[in-house]
Symmetry: C2
Subunit: 456 residues, 2 copies
């Protein structure tokens, strides 16, 4: 079987770049969730056209070979890691921005386009593509759609879903369909676009996306607020919401993360239990006015220090701490980054739950994330090769998932269920909702060849 | 069969309000798309709890009786009109706002809550529920979710979909599931919430919705701009977009509509080929600055007159024309309101297409709608009982659907496919995409009892 599909692919698509040497396939073994058990794909296809993707999937269906779609491999849920006996379809070579349509505020892009490249291309037209996962400089649009990726902008501009107007999708039998389109309002038929977004390649392979753009906002006004207690930072977030503010950034870092960033990058941030990064991109004087109000809210919550940028370079400096958080922790050992969320008002309870599992199990963990969305990234680290510590982290994560669910939250705010959190999907969604998901999966992919064992 | 389900309902749900007298059922025959052929439902159930809805659907499945879910009956696609031999489930009595959660900027509402009642209730907390279909004073949240309703706010605040965080849904076998929740970021499993939104009750019955709120924006700054040519109004819309403005209202009325409003309500608007209503709700001085820029754009496009409100009462006066558009045309005879859309940049071409089908067939039609979204409501009228005129309107609408599709547009921007536009779904979406919709429908409703023959 193995050989027959490889031969069939070579026969039907002689120009397809197809990696079969072990050394080449090795790079496609896992995504960034390196703590997960990995599998080596049988082959890696690097198509350049939708027609090639369609032919690959058709042959895979014929040969009953699983397909793993893969963007830039920066995912944090294991969804684009290899499957033994499977073909990984990597979209690296489908990386063209096909169109920037300024009049309709949209862009058309292939799935392999790097998020930052799209941002840069539309910026030259005075436009803005909001979704900004922390990995935006290296992650792909297709991967962002697969996970419904978030980022720092979500508190004001929403998640990837909110910036997708339409898709071209290769279905499990190789059929190519288009969903949505260029209309900002369109209610003809079921919302297939939305069903495919976040499905991690289990319902179809996205080969093109029509993306919604916005006019570029003005430069951001930027503020850092430091707190002596984590609760006070949580209180500040609540006060900012209660004051009717909608900052374009509302991010948190805890003490461990602040120290890690200071140690790794010599930033000289004051030692504090938590900091909030707060930004406004309202036009004109409204930005400073919004920050004034946010600053008052932070003060009311007991901020011990506040630093406000007076120019773009200072603002960039203030932002740097948050941007370097993950990299600083990664310097400390093997890491596992989690993605729990809770309703905004439960932010402090979620932070407490993280603190509890960390201290009870004697673990190392820095927490940072999207305070304004209630979505946090507790990031554990341990000495590489310390199997005992890794096992304790695994147990801590499972406890954390339960804690998030108990708070009415989620086991994953923006990274995806993938493989990593699959055992907890039913606990969060309930068996009947998961049954519906499986009914949809079976209807669209009856042979179960599209990324089997992931997402649902 | 007919009697047996009625008896079963009465036996199992003795407290259920169940209308079986013809005179009572008559009111549930059609929705606001009164030009469609209507059918009288066998019975009308008015449940008060999710458990009752579940039991009704379970019995309907057992007896193979179709179910039509119905909100306030203000739909414009025929989706909530009766089915002979079917049971209409009207959500009129499930009309409670269950919770307003200010800290999490959300509300929990039953489907029968009137949109305006929700708006008013959250406004007392300083909050804002954006979706504002023209019928907002009489339409229900459940109906809004069924059609993914739009309105005037969409150009800035999006459609109903953008304000829904989670749903409680009764499935085709009576099972109750919950989708989404209270988290603004949550990617656990497939986006079932989004699949149900806009599915016009064909996949499940929504019995509760968790809705996203925003801080109440400041009062709007309001401008009317008048144009001697329709093209110039279209040009103004393009210039406003190109200038990077995001007004919270960007509405158009054509000459026929302006005259109808003047005649019916003595508004003394200047006679013009088109007007644009432009509003800004940015904070502080930014609102007037945005209107200044919009006004310059309108002038650059050749506006012949502009009127700007200097206070809230004047603003309300300027808004009135647009608000009265449909009512003014309805005074002229029998009406049929359409809902075509096109990519924003094709607005003028869409207006031209409307003009062409109207004049070629010698029809009466006033066009108004959401210029900023490319979504227009050409509204035909004819003398009641004039079957010939009605037939010409039908033919005109079909031609218009084709023209919208040719422009890359949609046959329905916010009203839904329902029954009215069913023959055109495949033309717009393509047979393969529609096949996927039917696969999903079959997977979730294998007996085809949920609003059969509607939406897809």
């Amino acid at each position: 079987m193995t050989q027959s599909i490889i031969e069939a692919l070579r026969a039907e698509l002689p120009n397809l770049r197809l990696l079969t040497d072990e050394i080449d396939r090795e790079s496609y073994r896992s995504d960034e969730a390196s703590y997960l058990k990995s599998q080596l794909p049988m082959a890696v296809a690097l198509p350049e056209t939708t027609a090639e993707v369609s032919a690959i999937v058709r042959l895979a269906a014929k040969h009953r070979v699983p397909i793993v779609p893969r963007g830039a491999g920066t995912g944090l849920s294991g969804a684009s890691g290899g499957l033994e006996g499977g073909i990984t379809v990597a979209f690296t070579r489908m990386n063209r921005i096909l169109e920037i349509d300024k009049a309709n505020l949209l862009a058309v892009a292939q799935p392999g386009v790097i998020n930052a490249d799209l941002k840069a291309a539309v910026a030259t037209e005075g436009l803005f593509y909001p979704p900004d996962p922390a990995s935006f400089e290296i992650c792909s649009i297709g991967g962002n759609i697969g996970t419904n990726a978030g980022g720092l902008c979500c508190v004001k501009y929403g998640v990837t879903r909110d910036s997708v107007l339409g898709l071209e999708v290769v279905l499990a039998d190789g059929t190519v369909i288009r969903t949505g389109g260029r209309n900002v309002k369109d209610v003809a038929g079921y919302a297939l676009t939305h069903l495919f977004i976040g499905s991690q390649g289990t319902l179809g392979l996205v080969t093109e996306a029509t993306l919604r753009l916005r006019p570029a906002p003005p430069p951001k006004a930027t503020l850092l607020a430091f707190f002596a207690q984590t609760d006070a930072a949580g209180d500040a977030v609540e006060r900012i919401t209660a004051a009717g503010l909608v900052p374009c950034t509302l991010e948190l870092m805890d003490r461990v993360t602040i120290r890690a960033v200071n140690d790794a990058f010599h930033l000289d941030l004051p030692d504090a239990a938590a900091l909030l990064l707060i930004e406004s991109d309202l036009p004109g004087a409204a930005a400073e006015a919004e920050l004034d109000a946010a600053s008052s809210a932070a003060e009311g919550a007991g901020a011990v220090e506040q630093v406000r940028a007076t120019n773009a370079m200072e603002a960039d400096g203030l932002r740097q701490a948050r941007r370097l958080a993950l990299r600083a922790i990664e310097k400390l050992g093997a890491t596992r980054m989690e993605d729990v969320g809770a309703p905004r008002s439960k932010l402090v309870e979620l932070l407490d739950a993280i603190q509890r599992v960390v201290s009870e199990r004697g673990l190392n963990c820095g927490t940072f994330g999207h305070a304004g969305d209630g979505n946090l990234h507790p990031t554990f680290w341990w000495e590489r090769g310390d199997a005992d510590a890794e096992a304790r982290v695994t147990a801590a994560c499972e406890e954390l998932y339960r804690a998030a669910i108990d708070l009415g939250g989620t086991v994953t705010g923006e990274h995806g269920i993938g493989v990593a959190r699959l055992p907890f999907l039913e606990l969060q969604r309930g068996p009947d909702a998961v049954r519906v998901m499986h009914q949809i999966k079976a209807a669209l992919d009856p042979l179960n060849i599209l990324n089997p064992g992931r997402a649902i």
